[in-house]
Amino acid sequence: MSRIRATINSIRARLHHDEIAREVETELRFHIEMRTRANIEDGMNPDEAQRAALQSFGDFNNVKSACCEIRRSLPFNTSLLRMGLNITIAVLAGVAALWTVNTPHHNLPSLLSQLGFVAVLTCLFVVARRKQKPHRQ
């Protein structure tokens, strides 16, 4: 890992320490809640169900700190860069659309090529947006 990236990660880890811990905790609590519900559906009473869920999960604090440690060393999140790219494409598409409408002396071939350009940009925008989120079954 380059020194610059290591420095960026270290700054991020300091800045987002609490946020990362909160996110990890939310995720792990969700798991225990789901397991508790499943146990209740299997006939356990709520207390017993939660105890069993915690037991099958293992050491909560160990898991949490292991996850936080790995999460803090994750490489720079590119989602902001992707968002920036999406916005740029959307703005370019808008400008192209305005330019198409406001340019005088249109002829059909140039109008079609401009519309094609806008369509391509729109498709790129849609594809980029779709790639951002995992698709659930």
Partner: protein
Amino acid sequence: MAKSKAGLLQGTLDMLILKALSLGALHGYGVGQRIAQISGDALKIEEGSLYPGLYRLEQRGWVQSAWDVSDNNQKAKFYKLTRAGRKQLILEERNWERLAGATMKALRAS
């Protein structure tokens, strides 16, 4: 008859997580359920160990995650396999088959 459950090595767990996610995006709990389902409930996994595994795989770029809403309207983190993760799964499956074959050969040797 009760099934005997086998414990897992870390590398094997990572491979199973990749396999579970190759069938579609899931939250961590769903990954555990999917592994239990595809293994016929024969593998014993301490559920908490799934998460460091998922985070490790994300760190390597083999899975990516995003927060979304679960079926019961709760905030949950969903994971999906990346293209690199899919390639890694193929690689690990081949390695596993080779290793299993070699182990069987050794065990059958007289």
